[in-house]
């Protein structure tokens, strides 16, 4: 498929899209499972975010380099195999670096394979763009994903254990909300973040409408 040349340019938006406007978690709701499952502490969130970012960068880079060689009918299978290879690398690397962390994250490191965000990037971006552009975009997406994990992990650890990164912050009189560390807490905190963003978006839209009607009445009194 021939693409317009404008699509191949590298702009700040290539990088920033993933962090805010197309944030994989808060806007596109992709890769929800690790987002909810491992974000009970900030440390786990950070490790998961970085591991996912590495797999995303490596696999989309390779997909981008091989994009003219992979036949269309088997492309999804090819992408999955590429992703699975890099996840195996990450799996063994984390096991070697910190067995403690590995045990806490459990099967969710291997389950990065099934993160639809990574396959989605390979299919919708890496297979159509050059290497450098893909890397920049993937880095943005990966950082956006990590940021979202930290948003959840921060709130859940603060409310659930009264600490951040293991340092107690709220003092001994604070009664921890244990539910935040348990599965329901993940759903509630993510739901609350989405509510906040929906509210901000609606307020912005209303202001835009109000400004438009105001300028319209000013022009035609």
């Amino acid at each position: 498929m021939a693409l317009p040349t404008a699509d191949q340019t590298l702009t700040a938006d290539t990088f920033l899209a993933g962090i805010w406007r197309e944030n994989p978690v808060f806007v596109m709701l992709l890769g929800m499972c690790p987002v909810l499952a491992v974000t009970n502490t900030v440390q786990n969130s950070l490790a998961m975010g970085l591991a996912t970012t590495f797999v995303l960068l490596a696999s989309s880079g390779l997909v981008s380099l091989l994009r003219h060689l992979i036949p269309k009918p088997v492309r999804i299978a090819a992408y999955i195999i590429i992703i699975a290879s890099f996840v195996t690398v990450v799996d063994y690397a984390i096991q070697a670096i910190s067995l403690d962390l590995y045990n806490q994250l459990g099967a969710f490191i291997q389950l990065i394979v099934a993160n639809c965000m990574i396959l989605g990037r390979a299919e919708s971006y890496a297979s159509r763009h050059g290497f450098i552009q893909t890397q920049v975009n993937s880095l943005g997406m990966g950082l956006g994903f990590t940021l979202a994990l930290l948003c959840l992990g921060g709130v859940r650890e603060l409310l659930g254990a009264g600490s951040l990164l293991g340092y107690p912050l709220l003092g001994s009189s604070f009664e921890p909300w244990v539910v935040m560390l348990l599965p329901p807490g993940g759903f509630f905190v993510l739901g609350a973040w989405l509510l906040l963003f929906a509210w901000l978006r609606e307020r912005r839209d209303q202001r835009a409408i109000a400004a438009a009607t105001h300028s319209a009445t000013a022009a035609h009194p």
Partner: protein
């Protein structure tokens, strides 16, 4: 109940450690396809079937890989098996139930990236289940997935009629609902731990 007994394995996967509500596996279809009760039910059954097939294949592959001492290839083999099983379900549905095939749409091929299925294969490997135990485990997990997605779809159909503020419509409300469901499923924790 003994933790290795078949009835405990089933109950554990079905209710106590429900794949969706306690282990957070398979959230994408759980939120994406739970808008209508009938679609949700067929999605649940299709996923449960893929679980069954891929769990049995995964057991065979794991035995083979252990024999050849090639365990680092496990993940790659599992995902390839799951992708083929999804393809199989897709062909069967297209031939025998085209209506269901159309209503599931894009979510059918996406079963491949449903982490509940890969998770099932990995968990049964970690727990070193034998063939019969794996079979029961996958049946329990499949039934648990159907239960969760059908409950969710029922709740969301009721919610359509409720008068919600416009901000909370959509994903945020679904997540809150899932949270409440998950909270109630925590009541099953401890089931089977007494003697």
């Amino acid at each position: 109940m003994h933790p290795d007994s078949l009835s405990f394995i089933f109950l554990n996967a079905f209710l106590i450690n429900n794949f969706v509500l306690a282990l957070f596996l398979g959230i994408c279809p759980f939120l994406g396809v739970s808008g209508k009760l009938s679609t949700a039910a067929s999605m649940g059954v299709a996923t449960a079937f893929v679980m069954l097939v891929s769990s049995l294949c995964a057991w065979g592959i794991n035995a083979l890989l252990q024999l050849l001492d090639l365990e680092f290839l496990r993940l790659i083999c599992y995902i390839a098996v799951i992708a083929s099983a999804v393809q199989l379900v897709e062909m069967i549905l297209k031939k025998f139930a085209p209506a269901i095939f159309r209503s599931l749409g894009i979510f059918l091929p996406l079963i491949t990236t449903n982490c509940a299925i890969l998770g099932l294969a990995l968990f049964q490997t970690f727990k070193e289940y034998n063939l019969l135990q794996s079979l029961i485990y996958s049946l329990g997990a499949g039934a648990g997935f159907v239960l969760a997605i059908v409950l969710m779809a029922g709740l969301r159909e009721k919610l359509e009629l409720a008068d919600l503020p416009s901000v909370s419509r959509g994903a945020a409300m679904s997540l809150m609902l899932a949270g409440i469901l998950s909270l109630s499923f925590m009541g099953f924790a401890g089931l089977g731990s007494g003697h």
